[in-house]
Amino acid sequence: MARVSLAAGDPAEARRCWNRAARYMAAYGSHKDSTIHELLDPLPNLAAADPDQARTRLARVQPLAYLVAQRTDGRSTSATPHDWWRRLADLDPHAAADLAADVLLAEPGLPDGLVDAAHLQLLAVQATADPVVLAALRVTAGPGGRHLDRDVALLDRLAALAPDDPAHAAGVLPLLANALSATYDDQPLIYASDADGPEPTTVLRDAAHRLGGDGPPPRTPKPDSNSSSERRARAPADIATFLHAQQRPALPPGAVGAVAAVRDHGSKPYNDDPDAPRWSAEALTNAIGWRLMQVAADNGADAAAQLLYRVADEFGALGATALLADVGAGLELRRDTDPGTFDRLASVAHTLAFAKIRGGGGRLTFAGRDRLDLWQRAQALDAAAAAATLADQVASAVAGRRYGTIGVTQALVAAFAARPPDPTRPAPADALACWDAAFAVIAHRLPGTADIGPGTYEPTTGPVVQCNIDIALSRLALATLAMPERADRRRTLVAATVMLAARPAEAQAAAARVLAADLGAGPLTWLLRVLSDGLRDAPLADDLAAQLVTLARSDLLSVRVEAANVLAAAGLPVPDPPATLAHPALACAIAAEDLP
């Protein structure tokens, strides 16, 4: 376009085109951009401090999460919209369920991976939702929702329902137990990509039996494919290696000895026995800790702090940095002897441990959000030392090796949300400022307009009561009627049947919204028929009645008849069926048939 503009004599437009192309090439030059996780991952920590502010930021980051997946090469980033939906389920379950249902109902007949992600995350985080509603949502998740611990917990919650709960009288508990545990049969016999799930256990069977369900017979899990590599890794060592591992190293006193201890520990062969005396973590902690105390006594606190820095650096990127936390704990134990010195040293040790322990299962090179307790302890002991140490570590990470900064932003946001570096400032202010600063940089690097479709999030303000969340969850459960696979649709109708019997208010509210979607004659007729059987002559909620009146005027025969049946059974006025214009072929054929 720049060339075309130049040829057309418009150099200004040519320059704009060139600049735009350059920015896009620089931003999306086929590289992955995992920095989006620096914004997504700490949102739950922000939410713990200020839910409204966190939701506002969740809305702001939505286009960026989609842009990363849509514009980069997708390596390690194709699932960022899924991650965003999981965060939505964490921070705003009501909106997540509502929005997921909207997406399904907007495109009936198409599965949606993002909705799946939100659906499964809601099952994971909504442990306090109404158990009958949650079980209905679990049933509609199908085999993808299998999770032994959560399923057993859910069955136990159902078993603990009060004796006067309508679920008992309606007799739906055995049905829920069977529908849930039967999904454990949807297990591939042969390799089939990611369709594998956990096998049923005795615990699951017993939980199902307690509800009157048949319960799945326990099955032995398939052999772990990693077991052979583990066996190789534990192959017996030769005699020299064995003897080396059995001997503790001879270490010099003072700072030199502490550094030598870390180096010796770092020399452990990968497949050597980690329980051998030489590689004992406790011995290393003692070797460092006692020498630190010696240096503090001989050379002062500053020298000891410097030694701590030196030791932390000596561990390197993949060393046993968790030992720093043990060193900090050991220093704390001796704070009574010299609180000023030992509080400071322990604070430095805890902060270094927080920064150096790789988060996210090792994926993050800087801290992460896994050991916020270390930061909080460091702050409590000596806030100034903790802040200075953390600032120093961040500066080192920025100035240091490539990829060394992965995790810095989320660590700072999570840490400051839990405990601000300056205790005199309001709790989440610094965390929000960090997040906003990172957002500005990352948003600049992700230009363009994201294609979000019908799932654009408007943040909820203020708390949402659980009963409203339950209605939203019910709506998502019933919206899975729009999924294409027959088994999904049948499970949805089972969920609707159960909820109509045991949770009629939630079921009616959900059905009213689902029936408003353009699902087609088949699904609308099925749901209406289930409503007709489930409601019988029960009173109708106003919004459901209004929707039924609309459907009773539909131009689809089975839909308007079934809607009219439900209205009539409830004793409500039934509109006259419309005089739908006959198709010409139908009119001609009937006219010809009636001719004398």
């Binding site: 007949g109 049969d185 369900g213 319960g215 017979p217 088994a487 088949g522 198709h583 054929a589 006219a591």
Partner: protein, 388 residues
Amino acid sequence: MSPDHRAFASSLVDEHLGPRLEAAGNPAGLREAAVDLAAAAFAGDADGLMRAQLRHLLHPSSSRLPDAYLADEAVAEDVLQRAAAGLRSALARAGTLVDARSFERAAAARLRDDPRLAVRAELARVPRPLTRPKPLRWSIEPAPWAGGRGPDDDPWPPAGVDAVAAMRCLPDGAAALARVDDGPRAGWTQIGMIERHQTPARRYPDRPARQVLIAVGLEVTDTEPPADSLPFAWSPWQLWTLPWRRLDPTGDADTVAHQLATGTWPAVALTDGGWTDPNYERTGLGSPPYVLAPVLAVVAALELEPTRGVCGFSLSDGDGPGLVCRQWRGHLVHDGNYQPLTPAVEGADLLVRPDLFARLRDTAGDARIHTGFSVNHRTGGEAAADED
């Protein structure tokens, strides 16, 4: 709209709606109207939706359709209901005025896609039980040949099939029937069971389609049941939802009891609710291959009525549920293209409460009770022909 669209629409309507239109007496012009509307829909965006659905549900190399209610079937249902909504107007234009509500109610009853069977079958689904007579214990492992990796690792036919293939009844009469070991129905007797193990043809390793079908059913007879027959009678699936007197208004309990004591009859029936039945009425929700039920005489003799409230297939007396049909499916396989995944095992059984089973034995006479039995296995085209 092209001739291709019209031809496709025509085949679509015949495939998905043909039996329903026929059962409704082929109302004049309804098929033609549906074909016209379907052709227009496929000239529009229905074709694109179907392609998108298949892209989501299948591997690029897949050659089998998923078990899904896809756009073609949805369009067929839409156009039928849209065209049928004009029936009343068409009659009015031809000079026939009808009562709007009762006419439409009657028309919809004949032309709608009724979900009740499919929902009942899903409500009846349980985790696959291992309950079965001892000589069939070999069938507990689902399709044992499915995981074989080569010619030396190909357990076909499964060990145990040959030993029982020639048998028509299990020895020991009623004692051969299996009982439920644990759970809420511990001690109930399994008077019927049918289970199919099936895998599609695949390459790498090169294997034909395969199927093993096992059927067990209580039979009351003074003589050996006919060879090469299934131990089942036939019954409408509505036996689970309607009182038996509505299905047989002329029957009475005394006559039934006499017939049970003297006649020859299978106690278990295959119903038209399973899609393998020739009279099965197709539904967009799909159905299991087999739905079992007791024969009407057993229901009458045991004075059972459809269980009230939410349930799958269940009949009750004054002491609660007394006879149930359980459904199961699972253990997924594919044809080497990873998608679609289909169940290798599908089955159903029929359980009766201990006190009712004792009454049944007393009524029929213990010596006349046989455990009817059938096992067969197929490969290649015969096995594949039984796929949906």
